[in-house]
């Protein structure tokens, strides 16, 4: 072909793939932040370096 066609298809596929990957990384960050840490653990180990509930 002539290079322009391949570039056009490449940009569309690459653009959508990159956006999907960006959404996936954002989703994993949100998921990680939403995992609740049981309160009992915090009570048992008050000086532990584990994050408190809601902290990252």
């Amino acid at each position: 072909m002539n290079g322009y066609v391949e570039a056009g298809y490449g940009f569309v596929l690459g653009g959508l793939g990159a956006y999907w990957a960006w959404l996936a990384s954002r989703n994993s960050r949100v998921k990680k932040a939403l995992i609740p840490i049981p309160v009992e653990n915090e009570r048992r180990r008050p000086n532990s370096s584990n994050p408190r509930q809601g902290e990252r």
């Binding site: 002539n2 322009y4 066609v5 569309v12 956006y19 809601g54």
Partner: protein, 260 residues
Amino acid sequence: MKLKIAQRYLAASALVAIAATVVLGLFITPPDAVQGNLARLVYVHPAVAWVAYLAYGVTTLASSLYLWRPTRSLRWDRLASSSAEVGVVFTALTLITGSIWGRPAWGVWWTWDARLTTTAILLVLYLGYLALRAVPMPADKRAKRSAIAALFAFIDVPIVHESVVWWRTLHQGATVASLGMNAKIHGIMAWTMLLGFVAFTLAYCALVVFRYRIAQGEDSLRERQISQWQSERLAQSQSDADRVSELLDNANSKSNVKMV
């Protein structure tokens, strides 16, 4: 959970449909009589542009439903923002593929043609909408302001579509989907084009569902942070009050001793 399952099915079917479009578009369909192989861009460029229109249409509908009191819900706001963000991606891809097509066909990467200019304005308008959403403010205020902005931004969509009719442009007018439906296109080319429209619409649906789920998570995270902050403030004020009462008690007991 239902959304996650829907997202999986949509993403899988979009992937299959896009793969089929690429194979048909690049290897199976014949080259065009006038433009040769360059015409193969017809299987992606109009489809991507259509999805941008669709995305902004959904944003406008969801924004209207948010603004209308009986249906007011943050769910519509989430849908509007998710669709707008996906729409921005598809508008950028429309401009890029159009530019790539324009270079060999017109001899320039970019020209201030009516269709191109109005599409660029469309992209800027919805980038502005997303920027407005990024301003920190209460959720209901943000939803209301951005819904009004979305309604204003949508005015450009029919202008983009009709620009090739209203002004003399380099960009060709509607050929396949013209009112007369006098489509002069080879059978397999027409079917591949239609498949492209279906494939990118499915990709849009999958992306919107994914973005909507993230918005849901972000909203619950924000709520949790607010309630945590409130409980911290409450605990702080309670300990301050305890300390003040302790100091007062101490002062009272000292004055009692003096009196005795």
